[in-house]
């Protein structure tokens, strides 16, 4: 018989008792704990401010091409990063500034790449849609829908084969669940029992089309989990603590050799799909509703409720802003790529020659 599909719906966080700060302190050091929480706070801030800076730089014409911001979706990347081991692998999409940053890639590297500068993570060769920092485990941003799901499975295969204990995290959008590679990757990973965690960030839209217009089920990822014998998991993606817990469970499962998980995290992007999109297709009031559920707002309140001093919360924010300012200056002052790099790194010998 087919495994019964089990379901988990996670939308309620640990409620801190409103009373004494001391009590809260104890709760703050629950299964997540203060240190991890402050880290998630910082990571969310880093994403928010780097993305906002990217937005500004775009309109100063310092970033060309395109860029896809994750403002509003910060909790997911941050919480998953907090779960990962330094040697774990992240695979993400063109909307991947966030996922790259939280692994520890430098802000200069990210902003520099967006601006096409020499200091960019990819030396200006890849661009905003392909941020990668292999040393940090950020194994690439992929700009064609679907491809990176099986690629993430492949990295997990390597970990399984060499018994390194590493796992792969793979992030993608709701729209991605309708392409063939999604299906192949999920089935393949389950059959091979690969240590990979698939995280669908359901922000309700593909580019400009609501996901519900083009999807046969309500929950594009969770309602498909059963097709691979997986548990159906939906989590409030704007609450870092909740995401942290499901991601941790999934990571534990993967590391224990029990195979992949598929997590659907409900969230919302505050801006348009990409730089040029004013997002006029959104029904009135939708954005406003989600702004109230802004992950940073939620998390700031959580920390305060838990008894973290406001000054501490603010200090982290200030430090992040300074870092973003510094990185911006650095990137602006970085030169454009030298002409020589045009013809390098097609091949492992460093060159681009196709003939003798």
């Amino acid at each position: 018989m087919a495994k019964r599909t089990t379901k988990r719906r996670i939308s309620k966080s640990t409620k801190p008792k409103k009373q004494a700060a001391r009590k809260s302190k104890i709760q703050l050091n629950d299964d997540i704990g203060e240190k991890t929480r402050l880290r998630m706070w910082q990571l969310q801030l880093e994403i928010r401010h780097v993305e906002q800076r990217a937005h500004d730089l775009f309109f100063q014409n310092l970033i060309k091409g395109t860029s896809h911001l994750a403002i509003g979706q910060e909790a997911i990347a941050s919480a998953c990063a907090a779960v990962m081991r330094p040697d774990d692998y992240t695979f993400c999409t063109y909307r991947g500034h966030a996922h790259t940053l939280v692994r520890g890639a430098s802000m200069e590297g990210v902003l520099g790449e967006l601006m096409g500068r020499e200091c960019g993570l990819l030396g200006g060769k890849g661009g905003s849609m392909h941020l990668t920092d292999v040393e940090k485990g950020a194994m690439g941003s992929y700009a064609i829908i679907g491809a990176h799901l099986p690629i993430a499975a492949g990295a997990a295969w390597k970990a399984q084969y060499l018994k390194t204990g590493q796992i792969s995290f793979c992030f993608f959008g709701d729209g991605t669940t309708n392409i063939g590679a999604f299906h192949e990757a999920l089935n393949f990973s389950v059959v091979w029992k690969l240590p990979v965690v698939f995280v669908c960030e359901n922000n309700l839209y593909m580019e400009y089309t609501p996901i519900s217009d083009v999807t046969a089920v309500e929950h594009p990822a969770a309602d498909r989990a059963g097709a691979y014998g997986l548990e159906s998991i939906i989590v409030d993606g704007n609450d870092a603590d909740l995401v942290y817990r499901v991601a941790r469970d999934a990571a534990d499962k993967a590391r224990a050799g029990d195979g992949p998980s598929l997590i659907e995290a409900k969230t919302y992007r505050h801006s348009g799909h990409s730089r040029a999109d004013p997002a006029t297709y959104r029904p009135e009031g939708e954005l406003e509703k989600w702004l109230e559920r802004d992950p940073l707002k939620i998390y700031r309140k959580r920390l305060i409720d838990f008894g973290v001093k406001e000054s501490k919360v603010v200090a982290i924010e200030k430090a992040v802003l300074e870092a973003v300012d510094d990185a911006t200056e650095f990137a602006k002052n970085s030169s454009t790529p030298s002409k020589d790099v045009l013809m390098t790194e097609v091949w492992a010998d460093g060159g681009a020659s196709w003939r003798n």
Partner: protein, 325 residues
């Protein structure tokens, strides 16, 4: 005549054909309510309604499979693949199914469909959103391949593609979407398979396609004014069918041939033309055949690098000047 952008001409061409033929239908991602990510199909949804202009999931195989099934049973679908790079995710449907079914069934099945797609570089989108892949289609028997360089040709050739009883790959060059030009008002239709001599010349013939046409024209101007070289420019417009007649006429006239391609070097359409001329007009040639292409590398994203990679006016000018010397 009305002045339209290249992108506006797309919607005009589609509208013209949808008006005259109920069996023309249009599908793709974000093409209906949103008017397309390049805004090339704005207004069609409002004009022709949700039964004829349909948004799809991100499912390129389903999009082209559906177009194929509809084409073989009586409709004339137009399918959009948002960026031509994404043809790779549905290449089986294009290369193995759509292209081959008429031949395999000995003519039982017709395939009157058009696949429109935004092709080429110059927008700093990086290696996965900037490829010029018209040669991917040219190499597959059973596909017609069209790539216009002007708004008028967009309208006229797109209309022709929709009426064509065979599958047509229609490459819209991204970097041309905002370019403008005069477009005949009212019904306008061009013939597929006819190249256009867009500049007469006597010393050398430059063959170009899509975004390379305006660059070749600029280079030809400079060649004349700065080096006294009279360069003719041919806008190929269609790779299949290929207008070898026009190519041969120009080669006979100038005895010198240069091709300018946006695609990377190996197995581009310039190679095919070069090989045809080297075989069939060998004795007319007074100069080696020169190919100008993007180097054989993935396309980089930074401004300076991308500009260096794509054939520039300067590079065309210099290469032709040195070649003719």
């Amino acid at each position: 005549m009305a002045e339209l952008t290249y992108r506006e001409a797309v919607a005009e061409g589609i509208a013209q054909e949808m008006e005259r033929d109920e069996t023309v239908v249009f599908l793709g991602e974000d093409i209906a309510k949103a008017g397309g990510v390049f805004k090339a199909t704005v207004g069609l949804y409002d004009k022709f309604g949700p039964d004829r202009v349909r948004d799809t999931p991100i499912s390129e195989q389903a999009i082209l499979g559906a177009a194929m099934g509809a084409a073989m049973t009586g409709l004339k679908p137009i399918a959009e693949i948002m960026f031509s790079d994404f043809l790779a995710v549905c290449w089986d449907i294009v290369a193995n199914q759509i292209a081959k079914i008429r031949y395999m069934t000995n003519g039982q099945v017709s395939m009157p469909l058009v696949i429109r797609t935004a092709n080429g570089g110059g927008a700093r989108f990086g290696a996965q959103h900037s490829q010029s892949v018209e040669n991917w289609s040219m190499m597959i028997p059973g596909l017609k391949v069209v790539a216009p360089s002007t708004p008028a040709d967009v309208k006229g050739l797109l209309a022709a593609a929709i009426r064509d009883p065979d599958p047509v790959m229609f490459f819209e060059q991204k970097s041309l979407y905002s370019s403008k030009g005069d477009v005949p008002e009212g019904e306008h239709i061009e013939e597929i398979g006819v190249a256009k001599v867009v500049r007469e010349g006597s010393d050398v013939t430059i063959i170009a396609l899509a975004a390379m046409v305006p660059r070749a024209l600029d280079a030809a101007d400079r060649l004349y004014s700065e080096a006294g070289i009279s360069a003719g420019v041919v806008d190929l417009r269609s790779l299949v069918p290929l207008d070898t007649k026009t190519i041969f006429e120009q080669v006979e006239k100038t005895s010198r041939l240069v091709t300018v391609e946006e695609n990377p070097r190996l197995c581009g359409w310039g190679a095919e033309i070069s090989s045809i001329v080297a075989e069939e007009r060998f004795w007319d040639l007074d100069m080696p055949i020169i190919r100008i292409t993007t180097p054989h590398i993935p396309l980089p994203s930074a401004d300076e690098l991308e500009d260096m990679a794509l054939p520039s006016v300067e590079r065309i000018f210099e290469t032709v000047r040195q070649g003719v010397d």
